[in-house]
């Protein structure tokens, strides 16, 4: 079920009613919310409901086994087996096809016919997200950072529909405690939730869709037909498209959760105002970045084992982060590119510490760093968006050699205005938005309802017919 659909609007009204009616009765409430979340998930493919239930059961059994043992070695084994079992469906559905195909190719080019079974499987939506959340739960129990929760709590933690299909990746200590307390039905921040939901819809339906069709799709469809300027603006536009699409989805998810009385972590913090690639990853898909840091980079040793090992750990983390986004070579290159960029940043930081250079940056330097970081991130997006490595290089070649190409008239004043506006918003203060929400919150309920309907009307009018799936659903 997609958020910007009539189906979801009806579904949410019914769930909202049931949720608040059953709120005082914990067990019926949890059963109701699990059932609602599974219905939400089954809307795509009813068969994969068993996968969600299976991953939840594996995570809970693993956590119980880990918690039962006091012996550190046994705990580690139990945790390792639990994590492997939790990730097994993800490995099979997302990566088996990619690795078996590439292995077969490599072997056949060497004259070896191994006869590996080749498959091309449908990736169950949200699998990457809830599998990572399940791993968080098992590992946090192993680390004694979190107690084993009840079965219903774990099933609801992993399936709660606002985060189910595209995050944010909520940690056990952020959500499970919220499931054990009664939410206050008297004080809902409907203005804040509405701002997030309608703002998210606007970003997805209007901004992202417009730039995607106006310039991004044509530029990436055949880079040889566009001029260098169009190629550059097309890549900048894609940076806005993916930000609007994914942060729009996250905003809607956080807003929906807010109406149900839940607090979700922030997932984006003005990523294009970053001054370095490290800074970017602290602002972009924050919940994934910290997951990779806490459950992959730190266990690998982080930066505690010397500079060389630090660089290796960064590369492993970022390449696997790239593969998380898709089992394809362009994603591997994208991950490796960001890994290499972060290694250079780490080397520069250690070099600066040694020489004591660059102490107080000037405003000019800060803006230069921001511009450089944005364009470095955009360079990475070329591989992220391109359907093949060849297309990515064709586009980059066009940026260098396409200055004499006539172009296709894709760079319009409106395209430039939308890109500039969205970039400017990365630097806008939070206060005006807060004041606007305060003003909305003072409206009478029926006025607020009409106002929200008007917002929907504007969004639906400015947006295209139909809604493209959110980009991050495929991950």
């Amino acid at each position: 079920m997609l958020f910007p659909t009539v189906d979801f609007a009806i579904f949410f009204c019914l769930v909202f009613l049931g949720h608040w009616l059953l709120n005082p009765r914990p067990v019926p409430w949890k059963l109701f919310m699990i059932a609602a979340s599974y219905v939400f998930y089954a809307w795509w493919n009813v068969h994969f409901v068993w996968l969600l239930a299976g991953v939840s059961a594996i995570a809970q059994v693993s956590a119980i086994v880990v918690a039962r043992h006091d012996d550190e070695r046994r705990r580690r084994w139990a945790m390792g087996i639990g994590v492997a079992a939790t990730l097994a469906p993800l490995a099979y559905f997302k990566y088996y096809g990619f690795f078996s195909l590439n292995l077969t190719r490599a072997m056949e080019s060497a004259g070896i016919h191994a006869g590996l079974p080749l498959v091309n499987l449908i990736l169950p939506v949200g699998l990457s997200f809830f599998s990572f959340m399940a791993v968080s739960y098992v590992v946090d129990v192993y680390r004694r950072q979190f107690e084993v929760a009840g079965w219903l709590d774990v099933f609801l933690y992993l399936s709660l529909f606002p985060h189910l299909v595209a995050g944010p990746i909520v940690r056990p200590d952020e959500l499970i405690p919220q499931l054990g307390v009664r939410r206050d039905p008297r004080h809902l921040d409907v203005a804040g939730a509405g701002y997030l939901i309608f703002g998210g819809l606007f970003k997805k339906v209007v901004i992202s869709s417009y730039l995607a069709t106006a310039i991004v799709d044509p530029v990436f469809a055949d880079p040889t037909r566009v001029s260098a300027i169009e190629a550059i603006v097309g890549v900048w536009a894609y940076a806005i498209v993916i930000y609007s699409d994914f942060s729009g989805y996250t905003d809607i998810a956080i807003g929906v959760a807010k109406l149900l009385g839940f607090q979700f972590p922030v997932n984006f913090d003005r990523p294009y105002s970053a001054r370095s690639l490290r800074d970017f990853w602290r602002r972009w898909h924050i919940t994934l970045s910290r997951w990779l840091r806490d459950y992959l980079y730190f266990p690998l040793g982080g930066s505690r084992k010397g500079p060389r090992r630090t660089y290796v750990n960064i590369m492993i983390t970022m390449v696997l982060g790239g593969l998380w986004h898709g089992a394809a070579w362009p994603m591997v290159i994208w991950g490796a590119y960001h890994g290499a960029g972060q290694c250079v940043g780490a080397w520069r930081r250690s070099h600066t510490k040694t020489t004591g250079a660059g102490s107080v940056p000037t405003p000019g330097r800060i803006w230069l760093e921001r511009a450089a970081t944005f364009n470095l991130v955009c360079l990475g997006w070329v591989f992220f968006r391109a359907d093949t490595v060849g297309t990515a290089f064709a586009l980059l070649r066009q940026v260098v050699t396409g200055w004499g190409t006539a172009g296709s008239g894709l760079v319009s004043p409106l395209v430039l205005f939308v890109i500039a506006l969205m970039l400017a918003l990365q630097f806008a203060p939070h206060e005006p938005a807060e004041i606007l929400q305060d003003r909305i919150s003072a409206l009478r309920p029926w006025v607020m309802g009409v106002g929200f309907a008007t917002a929907l009307f504007v969004i639906a009018t400015l947006g295209p017919q139909g809604v493209a799936p959110f980009i991050y659903f495929q991950f």
């Binding site: 080749l118 990736l123 054990g180 037909r225 004041i435 009409v450």
Partner: protein, 350 residues
């Protein structure tokens, strides 16, 4: 009894203390219902039109049962005028068919370009395709459903940019059966008038395993009947003729083999119809994608083996192609145009 969660208090900022009013859940539900009601009233006619175009079944029936009275109320209060005015202001047709949008706006032909007039009489014999120049590029249009939308992207890469202009007009979920959802005959006529394509590439039919309807939505021929085959053949013929008699050459790309075997009988019947119609039509060629991408034993496979190499070419839905698959279909189409219509190979890339 569960403990109660602390309330979420917005922070105070430099613009002064925030005064965020909160609301009880009952009123929030009221806000949501008012919002939904107003929005539904505004869009009831559009939603009703979209529901009428849905496949016949319970969902369509329930949607129409709810939306008909709401559309009536919307008409009484003339709310439709608001949405129609907004649509017109953005250059859209508020009464247009609900069929999906095409990737490209339909281009109109440059008035400075000399175009040979459309034939006065039906075309009866095949002719070679004209030689494109950089001043008068080959005008190519790709029409059909989601398969055509995917193919259009990769066809662009096969033709040399300086000698070709490609318009991608594939519309998802459309076909030749449901004229109430999207009328491809009218659309093809407009394409011929406005763009005057030299080459029309068709890939359509995946959504046509349903009864044939009139533009008004009446089922004129149910699926599975003998009349359906004849009626569908007539539609394929009329569609092809609209392009051919407008002066275009046509490449009709057949439906590819799919993973769902239940769909094979209807799809193979459709491919037979396409092949038969194209065989008897001048300036038209059929490109097979069923046998070309089937496994050696005739079964479905998402992989393509060629010269000792194995490649993944299909999407996970078992119907569409992945980029490499569309590239192979596009190459087959481009080769057919050179072989059958004597297009100069210079017009192709590589």
């Amino acid at each position: 009894m569960m403990p109660e969660m602390p309330r979420d208090r917005p922070p105070n900022g430099r613009f002064g203390a925030h005064r965020r009013h909160t609301m009880p859940a009952g009123r929030v539900l009221g806000v949501m219902l008012v919002c939904l009601l107003v929005w539904t009233l505004l869009y009831a006619p559009t939603l009703k039109r979209a529901s009428e175009a849905q496949p016949f079944g319970t969902r369509r029936m329930v949607s129409l049962w709810v939306l008909r009275p709401l559309a009536g109320i919307s008409d009484v209060f003339q709310l439709t005028k608001v949405t129609d005015a907004a649509a017109r202001a953005l250059g859209r047709d508020p009464g247009g068919a609900p069929g999906g949008q095409a990737p490209d706006d339909l281009p109109t032909i440059d008035p400075n370009v000399s175009v040979s007039p459309a034939p006065d009489e039906p075309v009866t014999r095949s002719t070679p395709m004209r030689r494109p120049t950089s001043d008068n590029e080959l005008r190519i249009v790709v029409v059909g459903d989601s398969l055509a939308a995917g193919l259009g992207v990769y066809l662009e890469r096969e033709f040399r940019p300086s000698l070709s202009r490609i318009s991608k007009q594939g519309r998802i979920s459309t076909g030749l059966s449901r004229l109430d959802y999207f009328d491809w005959f009218s659309a093809m006529g407009q394409i011929e008038r406005d763009f005057r394509p030299d080459l029309v590439i068709v890939m359509i039919g995946d959504n046509d395993n349903q009864g044939l309807t009139s533009p008004g939505g009446q089922v004129v021929t149910p699926i599975g009947s003998f009349e359906w085959t004849q009626g569908y053949r007539d539609r394929v013929d009329t569609f092809t003729r609209t392009a051919i008699d407008g002066g275009s050459h046509v490449v009709w790309v057949g439906l590819p083999i799919v993973s769902e075997k239940d769909r094979w009988p209807v799809m193979q019947r459709q491919n037979d119809i396409f092949r038969q119609v194209i065989r008897t039509t001048p300036n038209a060629v059929y490109v097979d994608t069923w046998d070309r991408f089937a496994a050696a034993d005739g079964d479905y496979t998402p992989f393509y083996r060629h010269e000792g190499q194995v490649e993944l070419i299909r999407a996970t839905d078992g119907l569409h192609f992945n980029p490499r698959g569309y590239q192979l279909v596009a190459q087959a189409v481009a080769q057919a145009v050179v072989d059958e219509f004597e297009l100069t190979p210079r017009a192709l890339n590589g």
